[in-house]
């Protein structure tokens, strides 16, 4: 293995890892704030990317406003999911399984809607810097991928500060940890849950506009991304946004290094075997909190 090949696999792994991590981040936000596994997270990304694409190509918006519109679209979808899927399920005393099933149903419906209105073709969303790439000792990484990594890192940092130092962030956490206690001290728990899904939706929309230029927009993109993001979130710790990104990067690097070090045919076997090992040793995830033992 040459240095160039090793570098290329690391760059590919980092890029893919942050793709998984961004989706995992959204899953972790929703789980942290509502204790619900959102199977529609990848479809938030799909909608965000589709709206950005339409804004760019049909309405001819400049790139930044088009991306912002895509992010906001994700947030709006998050709001609608909470209002019309999650809340009715909660009112009917839904269990964890119910929430998972209802969001899974929503995921299939979203995918079918994109298929209906946009067809089965792939669409290319322009990225930052177009298709240009940066040369790193003869290995290449797309300019857009660099921006994806930078923006993801900033978002994770921002979220950490939000949950730690803002009243709203702490209120959202409190509402998920202890509903009755939060109500007692005057926290509007239903509003916090709605905001959690809006935040998850915004994160999904952001993931969509950042990821789509690298993988093409396709109606099946949502579920594929959710699966990878879920793996990243579980690996990193389902309640930790930073953990989700860390888990995603770990997954991406393990996959790409397995390709170059062993064989592309065994990529998934090796990657999943390592992940299973990590989960056995650290069941709470790489950065998740240990469960309380004893009293």
């Amino acid at each position: 293995m040459t240095i160039t090949l090793l570098l290329q696999s690391i760059l590919a792994g980092l890029t893919n890892g942050f793709v998984y991590g961004l989706i995992g981040l959204g899953i972790a936000i929703v789980f942290r704030g509502a204790r619900i596994i959102n199977a529609m997270q990848g479809d938030f990304a799909l909608l965000g990317s589709v709206v950005a694409y339409v804004s760019l190509t049909r309405f001819h918006l400049p790139m930044l406003p088009a991306f912002l519109v895509g992010v906001i679209a994700g947030g709006v979808l998050g709001f609608l999911v909470e209002r019309f899927l999650i809340r009715p399920t909660e009112e009917r005393a839904g269990t964890e399984d119910s929430y998972l099933l209802v969001t899974l149903g929503g995921a299939f419906a979203a995918s079918a809607a994109v298929l209906l209105y946009f067809g089965r073709d792939s669409y290319v969303l322009s990225g930052v810097g177009g298709d240009s790439s940066i040369n790193v000792f003869d290995a290449a990484i797309r300019v857009h991928a660099v921006w994806l990594i930078i923006i993801s890192s900033l978002v994770v940092t921002g979220l950490k500060l939000f949950y730690s130092y803002t009243r709203l962030g702490q209120a959202m956490l409190a509402a998920s940890i202890d509903v009755n206690g939060s109500l007692t001290i005057g926290i509007n728990v239903p509003l916090m849950r709605t905001l959690t899904f809006v935040a998850g939706g915004l994160m999904g929309g952001l993931a969509g506009v950042l990821v789509a230029p690298l993988i093409n927009i396709h109606y099946e993109m949502g579920l594929l991304l959710t699966l990878k993001g879920f793996a990243a979130a579980i690996l990193g710790g389902l309640t930790s946004p930073l953990g989700a990104v860390f888990g995603g990067v770990t997954l991406g690097l393990v996959e790409s290094l397995a390709v170059v070090a062993v064989s592309s045919g065994y990529k998934d076997v090796i990657a999943m075997a390592i992940l299973i090992l990590i989960m056995i040793v650290m069941p709470q995830g790489l950065l998740g909190r240990r469960g309380r033992r004893g009293g």
Binding site: D121, S122, Y123, D131, N216, K267
Partner: protein
């Protein structure tokens, strides 16, 4: 008596004039039903939808010309959703409920396997929009294929690579579905063509990134890169990791959908295929022109396969007679046919009879297919 006779003659003449031209009058007969099971949804939709378009256009053109001995044809199309079990149940409905005379399709090899067991048992002709699949298909004497076997696709790739590009060291990026099937055939031809695969990397169907695999192939420094996949992703990734060698692909990747997905990397890629809509061969001009008028788009290979399927079926029914049995129609089909896609010989061992000479080579130049002068022999 004479006045009555003249009166009848006048009435008959007036009625004949009012009835319209003979072809319209002749199409009052019961339609001849031809069934089709294609993948309009699911992973195979990229094949099935173009096939359907070609079939419907052929139906329209044949009926405009008077149908089969005055009777119109009706293509009954069912969607198998790219699933073999659905293909089987849809085929059963067409065969036993609708009583179609010939079955066209399916679009995917697994679905063909499921359906051909039924058509074989019924002794009816099936024109599959797939190449020869598992060996059991050779035992089915009424199953005909409109697309070449994968070994021929592999040969076509190697013909261009060795005779035009003069390359011996090859790298391959392929998916684990369609790509693996073609790769298996390529592996069996290395000795004959004197080539060596210096790097072969695979990825799962639907993979969103293949950069690591592409980097590994690049490190092996091949003279030419084969990319065999039903996705634009590996084509993009190959150029993103700075693979500058020429790329040769296969017919399954030659699609306008994939070209759009490749973005600005849809360049310097050669496809051995059959139809180049931008520059059709003389015998394909009429089909391309009609398709453009009907759908406002250029056709490619699978559209032509659908078009040929209907014409072949119609010709066999005309030869055997519209009232012939299914077995008689299947027998009438067993011969040579010069189609738009290719020249067929359904009496050949592989029940296709397509030869290398039917291939047309195209090159993607800045997102546009251009026909190359090379012809394989």
């Amino acid at each position: 008596m004479t006045r009555a006779f003249i009166g009848c003659a006048c009435v008959t003449a007036i009625a004949t004039l009012l009835a319209g031209p003979p072809s319209v009058q002749a199409q009052q007969g019961e339609p001849i039903k031809i069934g089709a099971v294609v993948a309009l949804t699911g992973p195979g939709a990229g094949l099935g939808q173009p096939e359907r378009n070609g079939m419907l256009l052929a139906e329209k053109v044949i009926n405009e010309k008077g149908g089969i001995k005055g009777r119109p044809i009706k293509i009954l199309i069912e969607d198998d959703g790219s699933k073999p079990d659905n293909a089987k149940s849809k085929a059963e409905r067409l065969i036993f409920d609708e009583k179609v005379l010939v079955l066209l399709g399916p679009s995917l090899t697994a679905s063909t396997g499921a359906v051909s067991a039924i058509t074989n048992a019924e002794g009816m002709a099936e024109l599959a929009c797939t190449g020869l699949g598992p060996k059991i298909e050779l035992t089915y004497k009424t199953l005909y294929h409109l697309l070449p076997p994968q070994v021929l696709n592999a040969r076509a790739m190697l013909e261009y690579t060795t005779k035009v590009l003069k390359a011996k060291k090859l790298g391959v990026l392929h998916d684990t579905g369609y790509g693996q099937v073609v790769m298996n055939s390529l592996n069996g031809l290395t000795g004959e063509y004197g080539v060596e695969f210096v790097s072969v990397e695979k990825f799962e169907v639907g993979a969103t990134d293949t950069s690591a695999q592409a980097a590994k192939v690049r490190a092996a420094d091949p003279e030419v890169l084969f990319i065999i996949a039903t996705s634009p992703v590996p084509f993009r990734n190959a150029r993103e990791v700075r693979i500058t060698q020429p790329i040769v692909s296969a017919i399954g990747s030659s699609s306008y959908d994939y070209v759009r997905g490749m973005g600005e990397y849809a360049d310097d890629i050669v496809f051995p295929e059959f139809v180049v809509g931008e520059d059709p061969a003389p015998h394909q001009t009429d089909f391309v022109k009609r398709y453009q008028q009907e759908y406002n788009a250029l056709p490619k290979n699978y559209e032509a396969a659908g078009w040929d399927a209907v014409h072949i079926a119609a010709k066999a029914i005309e030869t055997a007679g519209p009232n012939a049995t299914r077995a008689e129609i299947a027998k009438a089909m067993r011969g040579s046919y010069s189609g738009t896609l290719a020249s067929y010989n359904f009496a050949a061992d592989d029940m296709t009879g397509i030869e290398l000479s039917s291939y047309v080579y195209s090159k993607l130049v800045k997102g546009r297919f251009t026909r190359l002068p090379f012809a394989a022999k």
